[in-house]
Each structure stands twice: as C-alpha cells, then as structure tokens.
C-alpha cells in the first residue's frame, strides 16, 4: 500500500515561508477554485492557507534555539477527520493514502475541523467548504510535467530541501530512509492518529576534521609530500589582522 507523505527536516528549515506562498499560489490557481483572502492589505487580514510555517523558541536565554515549524495536513494513517464527516466529503484515498475533501459534497459543518487535533483544516469563508492540503494531487500525477516536477508545490519551493516527498510505506524510498536514519517522528503520537507526515528533529552538527582528511596518510603512490608546517615564530592570520 502506498502512503504518500512529506518529511520535514526541522534541522534545515529556515522559516523563509517560501513553501507557504508557493502552496497558496498553486492551490489558489487550480481547478478546485481560489483560496479566499479578505482584507489582505487592510486592518484585519484573514485568509485560507493549506500550509503554515510557525516559529517556536526552545530553551531559556541565552541557550535558546529558534525552531521553524511548517505545519500542513499530516495525512494520518488513521485520520480522525474522515469518519466524523456526515456526507463522505472527507475521505482517505486507498491508492495513495492522501486525505482529501470533495468540495462538491462538503456542507461546511466544520465537524472535521473539530475532530482534527492538529488544526490543519481551514474553512474557506467564501466558498463555505473545508479546505486542506491535497499533497498537490493535481500536480504529482500530471503527465504533462517532467517527472522531476511531479512533487507538491511546497517541496518544489523549499530552498533548503527541508521538505521531502515520497511513499513512507516503501522502505527504500528517500523519505523512509530519512525517517529511519534521522530519527523521524510523528506529531502528537498520544492520539493514535499515526500521521503519515514525519518530522526530522534538530540535530547537533559538528565538523570534526582529522589530520588524515588534510593529509593523505596512506599516500598510495608515495607522490604526495607532507604539507609544510608553519614555524612556531611565524605570524598566523589572526596575528596579522590584530596587529
């Protein structure tokens, strides 16, 4: 069974909001109709977005970290929003695990939003139906696009490649490897929703350079000479600039 999902690397996300604008641009221009905005330049702007990037401060000054946290529908394996829908407008596709809303069946009762602990469903205030991330279902299967472009708009936009897209049920996929090798985790595991989207945690990254990375110790052809070591008395760059 295929389960398409995003894997979001919090270690890499810089909070640039490119995925937010790219998502909005793609999904407001599609066949499903616009994503409403009201007073975009006015006093109290509001609008429907399928993806948000939030920022959290972890720790106490001065030992703090800023965590940028992109949040969109997690396409749960056991989505609580689907069984509560009275019309069947909210459904999970069997073939690829994407949770979708049929905008022609939705009555706008907002019950699915109540049933989602992640707050990733937003009512469109003008179309009066529930909107949510579709994993760009109108893009990822588009045969007109070159295969490298058949990815969600947010993934295409990310300048730091913090967003990976693929099948989390395929153990050899890029996303499964990323989850496995970088301790990928799910949000709010306490509710048993089994989100398909995973997050990769912040990781300590230290660059440790050993001598043999600078000099080839094995020197197979015996051609490399040793690098000249600076004399103890010779000025270093630091001394030059601090004269």
């Amino acid at each position: 069974m295929t389960q398409l999902a995003l894997v979001i690397d919090l270690n890499v996300c810089v909070g640039c909001q490119a995925c937010v604008t790219s998502c909005k641009e793609w999904n407001t221009s599609g066949a499903a109709g616009f994503l409403s905005d009201d007073n975009p330049y006015g006093k109290d702007p509001t609008g429907t977005f399928l993806n948000r990037v939030q920022t959290f401060e972890v720790g106490e000054y001065p030992n703090t970290q800023t965590v940028h946290f992109p949040k969109s529908c997690l396409h749960c394996e056991d989505p609580p929003c689907v069984p509560v829908c009275p019309t069947g407008a909210s459904y999970k596709r069997a073939e690829d695990g994407i949770v979708l809303v049929d905008y022609d069946k939705c009555i706008g009762c907002k019950y699915c939003a109540w049933a989602c602990p992640y707050g990733v469903r937003e009512v469109d205030e003008h179309q009066k139906v529930m909107k949510k991330c579709t994993l760009c279902v109108d893009r990822i299967y588009d045969q007109e696009l070159p295969p490298s472009d058949r990815k969600p708009a947010c993934v295409m936009a990310c300048p730091t490649s913090a967003r990976l897209f693929g099948d989390v049920h395929d153990p050899e996929s890029e996303v499964s490897k990323a989850i496995r090798e970088n301790a990928g985790y799910q949000l709010m595991p306490e509710w048993g929703t089994h989100p398909a989207n995973h997050y990769l945690p912040r990781r300590k990254q230290e660059l440790k350079i050993h001598d043999d990375a600078l000099e080839r110790v094995d020197n197979p052809l015996k051609i490399d000479g040793k690098l000249p070591r600076p004399g103890v008395r010779e000025p270093a760059l630091d001394d030059v600039t601090t004269w």
């Binding site: 939705c106 707050g119 009512v123």
Partner: protein, 322 residues
C-alpha cells in the same frame, strides 16, 4: 471552542421537544394502565404534540445556520455507519415524523381502533417515537462525546447531561402546559420536572468537577516533537486571523467564563425549582411557565459554557500573533 449559537439553539430546542414528547407519552401510558386519570381536556395530546414539534422544527431550522452550504444538507444522511452527526440527521426527522403522527393519531381519534393485543396505533407510534427520542439524545450527545481530543466532552456524562437537561426542560414545559389545560396533571408533571432537574444537577456538577481536574494530554512538546521543557511560540505564522484563530477560541476572559458558569447553575436549577414549586402550590400556570423560560435561558448559558470550556489541542499551535 467558540460557542456556535446555531448549535446551542439546536441542542436546547430539540431537548425541550424531546422531553415534552417523553412526558406526553408517559402520561398516556400511565393513563392506560390506570395509574393516572386520563386527561379530559379535548386536544390535550394533539396540541402538546404540536408544541413539541414546533420546538423540534425550530431546532432543525437553527441547525441550518451552522452549515456553510445548507442547500447540500440532505447529503449529511450518507455516512450513518461512521458519523454520529449523520445519524442525528437521520433520527431527528424520523422522530419529528413520529411526533407528527402521534399528534395526528390522537387528533383523528386513532386510539379507538386497537391493532393487536390492546396496543393501538398511537401507542405503537408513541413507543416507536420514544425509542427514536432516546436514540436522538444518544446521537446528539455522542457528536460531542466521540471527539477524544476534547477531553471535556469525551465522557458518558455528556450524553447523560443532554438526556437529563432535555427531560427536565421538557417536563417543565409539560407542567406549564398541563397547568393551563389539564390542572389535574400539573402536580404529577411538576414533581417529575423536579426529579429530572435534580438528576441534571447531579450529573452536570459531576461533569464540572471532572472537567476541572482534567490535565491536557497534548502539550507543546508533543505538538512539535521537541522534548525541551521550555518552549514558547514566537510566531503562529501570520499576522491576521484565520479560521483556526476564530473557531477554536471563545476569546473571553476567564472571569466571564466563571460568571456564565454560576449564571447557569443558578438559572437552571434553584430559580426554576422555586418558581415551579410556588407556581404548583399556588396553582399558577404563569409561574410554572416562568420557571420553564428561566430554565431555558439558563440552558442556553449552560450550552455556551459547554462549548467554551472545551479546549482544543490545536490551540497549542496558535498562541502568538507575529
């Protein structure tokens, strides 16, 4: 959660209609088995059924204001296998049909033609309606009780409270109605209104105590998956509002919530009981009617508080506008 007035009206209005129907059918059953004197007033059952139906219709109309696309409401009957909301959408009109037929049967004098073994048409319709009525209480309550992310609602007490409040307010209305058209029944119905109001007091206070002790299962740590004990949101990702900042926050200070709680505790329980008691003893239907009106107003506050008290875990993600 932000209290939705359409849903507050729906749940309180159909509660009254359901309670009134249950009171009515209980009177008929008790009269048939000889516990009560049969009501002598002509049109006792049809008029009361019409009143109950009016409350149910008003609740149904109110519910349409909750929908973004009311013209598609018929689709809501589709997913009855999984959705309590869908089940309610089916049971409510079915129950309304039963109430209508029950009143019509009494109006046309169907009781005089027994079907089988002493069970005549109105008794059969009433029994079927009672089952649907109890199912409707179950559906309405389970719409909220089935949402496990909202721990304030995720308890059998939610269903029990809907049942107790519906019966109490319906019996209160039945007592006022009987006081006007059938004084012989007023005392009996008033006594049962007192009982159900007392039961509602016990179950509602139990749920208030329970909810006061709840600790949220989701925290910022589980919400973003960072284990550090100190996490503060510095931006929710946008400067303006959104559906998420409106639908899930009541936006009132804690003191306002407390005042609503005490208002409904006063307006639903002691005041109507005092008015009901005085009105019944003084044989004054006006006072009993006042008891119903005060209790219904209190129930609006109770339902408002029911929504406002529930804290949705998604609120963890929407703490700081920046």
């Amino acid at each position: 959660m932000r209290p939705a007035f359409s849903v507050i009206l729906l749940t309180t209005l159909i509660g009254v209609g359901q309670g009134l129907f249950l009171a009515l059918f209980s009177v008929e059953v008790l009269a048939r088995i000889g516990v009560l004197e049969p009501p002598a007033a002509p049109g006792f059952y049809p008029v009361a059924s019409a009143i109950a139906l009016a409350f149910l219709v008003a609740g149904l109309v109110a519910s349409f204001f909750h929908l973004g696309r009311p013209e598609r409401a018929w689709r809501a009957a589709a997913m009855w296998r999984t959705s309590w909301l869908s089940r309610e959408v089916i049971v409510l009109p079915a129950f309304m049909g039963c109430v209508f037929l029950y009143g019509l049967g009494h109006h046309l004098g169907w009781p005089s033609q027994p079907l089988v073994a002493g069970i005549d048409a109105t008794l059969a319709i009433g029994a079927f309606g009672t089952v649907l009525c109890l199912l409707l209480f179950l559906c309405t309550g389970m719409i909220y009780a089935c949402l496990k992310f909202l721990p304030e609602w995720h308890t059998p007490l939610t269903v029990i409270n809907y049942l107790a409040f519906g019966c109490a307010s319906g019996l209160m209305l039945a007592a006022a109605y009987a006081g006007i058209v059938e004084p012989g029944l007023a005392r009996f119905l008033a006594a049962w209104a007192v009982w159900f109001t007392a039961v509602a007091l016990v179950t509602r206070v139990a749920s208030l105590i329970r909810n006061g002790r709840l600790r949220p299962r989701s925290t910022l740590q589980t919400a973003i998956g960072v284990k550090h004990p100190r996490i503060v949101q510095s931006s929710q990702g946008f400067m303006g509002g959104s559906f998420n900042t409106r639908e899930f926050f009541h936006g009132r200070p804690e003191a306002f919530l407390r005042s609503v709680k005490w208002s409904f505790l006063v307006a639903v329980f002691p005041v109507p009981l005092a008015l009901l008691g005085t009105g019944t003893l003084a044989a004054s239907p006006a006072l009993v009617a006042a008891a119903f009106v005060v209790q219904y107003a209190g129930l609006l506050a109770e339902r408002w508080f029911f929504f406002a008290q529930a804290t949705h875990p998604q609120n963890l993600y929407y703490q700081r506008v920046a």
